[in-house]
């Protein structure tokens, strides 16, 4: 495995652009939920943006993603267009799934977004299958399964990592360790200090990385992607992060230690990376501000288009249950 040199300047700016997109979209979604415009159970990813922003610049549109209920950041970074997202979470017929899937089941094959699941652990077995398809086709694609720290305690995790290793599948298991599974803190549910160490149980490389550090996150993923594309098999990445809000946005987050939370928010990687890019001379304040402004406009445009779009016709209820038999 060649150690990557790290992201170059334009890549760093692209990472920032994605971070800005993800952050602004979460902010705006929470605003819409709070304001009563959007009636969804919302699993905020605020605080976890760096992971998909930095990791997925290593992917192409042809690579595959399986993500989870708390995965809108993953989806956006993989390329799910804002207007398809907003129309879908608003339940409109113009949504990526015609309004049938909703925020927990977003799908967009054009950008490799194959499955979004609401069942803990279930992104992994399916990602294996996508990777198996890629392996059989020899098309060099990789599949990524994202999941949470607590999901590493469920059976599907184990079965998936074992099979991926035995079959040398081009798949990356990207664990976003935000230190909570719903209301339960990491240590009360998980028997190992680092989830990355569980890779040992599968003869697979395990990478423990600061998921709030865009450079480190990029490098970890670059290494895993290179390994997968080279036919050397799967990698488990544990990216350390923190969830700024409760499990479901709006829940009483009393189970979260106040001081830890305060500190995490104070350490928000978004302004830190923004400042770094300017300090490094990688980008100017004006350039970043323009990125942010454009994104904000795009989000609002997508949301507004959603509000104006039609709901699916009731006749849609019974379509897409079965396909047509040739």
């Amino acid at each position: 495995m060649t150690i990557p040199n790290g992201p170059d300047g334009p890549t760093q700016v692209e990472i920032f652009r994605r971070m800005a997109l993800l952050k602004a979209n979460d902010d705006y979604t929470r605003k819409m939920v709070t304001g009563g415009k959007l009636f969804i159970p919302y699993y905020s990813y605020r605080g976890q943006e760096v992971i998909p922003a930095a990791a997925f610049v290593n992917l192409t549109d042809q690579d595959y993603l399986c993500t989870i209920y708390r995965g809108i950041h993953d989806l956006l970074s993989k390329g799910l267009p804002l207007k398809d997202l907003w129309a879908e979470i608003a339940g409109r017929k113009t949504g990526s799934c015609g309004g049938k899937g909703g925020p927990m089941h977003l799908t967009y094959p054009e950008k490799g977004v194959m499955v979004t699941t609401g069942i803990v652990g279930s992104s992994m077995p399916i990602a294996n299958g996508l990777a198996w398809g890629a392996q059989l086709s020899g098309d060099g694609r990789v599949a990524v399964a994202t999941f949470g720290d607590a999901a590493s305690n469920i059976g599907a995790f184990h079965e998936s990592l074992n099979m991926a290793s035995v079959w040398k599948l081009p798949v990356i298991f990207l664990c976003q360790n935000n230190t909570f599974g719903e209301h339960t803190p990491y240590a009360k549910a998980t028997s190992v200090e680092k989830i990355a160490d569980r890779a040992i149980a599968y003869g697979m490389p395990g990478i423990h990385v600061d998921g709030n550090d865009p450079i480190a996150m990029y490098n970890a993923m670059a290494e895993a992607v290179a390994r997968a594309r080279a036919g050397e098999g799967p990698t488990l990445i544990e990216a350390m992060t923190y969830r700024f809000h409760g499990h479901v946005f709006g829940d009483k987050d009393e189970y979260m230690d106040k001081d830890v939370k305060k500190q995490a928010i104070a350490d928000d990687p978004y302004p830190r990376f923004r400042a770094k890019l300017i300090a490094d001379g990688t980008a100017t304040e004006d350039a970043l501000a323009k990125i942010e402004a454009d994104i904000q406009a795009e989000i609002e445009e997508a949301a507004n288009a959603a509000w104006e779009a039609e709901f699916p016709d009731v006749a849609e209820l019974t379509t897409d249950v079965y396909g047509e038999v040739a």
Binding site: F39, I40, P41, G91, R92, K93, G95, C97, G98, G99, K100, G101, G102, P103, M104, H105, T117, G118, I119, V120, G121, A150, A151, N153, I154, G155, A156, G181, E182, H183, T184, K188, A189, T190, H247, D251, K252, E254, Y255, F311, P312, V314, E316, L317, T318, V321
Partner: protein
């Protein structure tokens, strides 16, 4: 109901289940609780059903678990084999799918396979129900599956009093009981149960008497059926509403008596119609009352689709009072 004449304060279903668990734990130290987030440091359950219990009865008897549904049910089974009475929470009914082996191959069968030398007195709680926009993987009603498995009992309360009384009976019961809670009426206030109240498993309750048509139902649909009965009454149709409360075993006697009287039967549930509980009831009633029915047994369930997210589709998916009233009107007026 209370035998004093002071006005009783209504309680929500969540509170009634919480009270039943608390009273059972106080009465019998063998009663345990386990599940994701069930202890108080984790908020006493995502819907607060187990709130206060770990503080009162200790961390050993009320345990938050990893997200490991097979291990949760396994732990419950094992503890029950050696004298404990665990109440295991599998948050949402859709998540029972990752613990099906433990439930149907083990919990349901160990008494039989051991020739009666062991038994599995556990309660498995889960919640479900469409209407919250949670979509395809968080809203299914699969009570028919578990009712198809010998060794299982399946309970679905519709109100606070029954939720309390059924939970107490489920905990008393020597066999595995699946206790299915309907989220859409979790926070509805209903008259409370008296402390210690028991609702025997397998006993239906006639919620409203009537003479023209029987509506058999359970869980959240009981309220829809009662609403439908009001609409029907205005149209001059007298509907009897039977709340099954338990679907395995279900109360054939009460249902047959009611249908023998009215001559007509509607079965309604939130589960999709095909291969649902309504099918079993229809099959038994058409056999036992052959030649005595004034019309066919009619089923009103959800559309045969996954649960859609978008509100208008979700509403169209669900059975409701209007659909029940329509079906009953057609049945009675022909």
């Amino acid at each position: 109901m209370s035998d004093t004449d002071t006005a009783v304060k209504p309680v929500m279903v969540v509170a009634a289940i919480n009270q039943a668990l608390a009273d059972a734990m106080a009465d019998d130290e063998k009663v345990l609780i386990l599940g994701e987030d069930v202890a108080d440091p984790e908020g006493g359950g995502v819907s607060g059903v187990t709130k206060g219990l770990s503080s009162r009865f200790g961390d050993n008897r009320v345990k938050s678990t990893p997200i490991s549904e097979q291990a949760i049910i396994g732990a419950a089974i094992g503890a029950s084999l050696v004298g404990y009475k665990p109440v295991a929470e599998i948050m949402m009914m859709n998540f029972t799918t990752v613990a099906m082996d433990m439930i149907v191959n083990h919990a349901a069968k160990l008494r039989y396979m051991s020739g009666g030398h062991t038994n599995v007195p556990i309660v498995i709680r889960c919640m479900t129900g469409a209407g919250f926009g949670t979509g395809g993987q968080h809203s299914d009603f699969w009570e028919a599956w578990f009712s198809h498995v010998a060794g299982m009992k399946v309970v679905l309360p519709s109100c606070s009093e029954d939720a309390y009384g059924l939970m107490r009976s489920a905990i008393d019961d020597p066999d595995p009981v699946l206790f299915i809670e309907a989220m859409p009426n979790y926070w509805t206030p209903f008259p409370p149960a008296e402390t210690g109240h028991r609702v025997p498993l397998g006993k239906a309750r006639v919620r409203q008497e009537g003479t023209d048509v029987t509506i058999v139902t359970y869980s959240r649909m009981v309220n829809e059926a009662l609403t439908a009965a009001k609409t029907l009454a205005e149209a001059g149709i007298s509907a009897e509403v039977v709340d099954l409360r338990t679907v395995q075993p279900w109360d054939e006697e009460t249902v047959l008596a009611s249908v023998a009287k009215t001559g007509r039967l509607i079965v309604t549930h939130e589960a999709v119609t095909p291969f649902g509980v309504g099918a079993e009831i229809a099959a038994v009633v058409q056999e036992k009352l052959f030649g005595k029915l004034k019309g066919p047994v009619v089923r009103v369930g959800a559309a045969f689709t996954p649960v859609p997210f978008s509100k208008p589709l979700e509403s169209a998916y669900l059975p409701d009072a209007a659909k029940i009233a329509d079906a009953a009107t057609k049945l009675v007026k022909g």
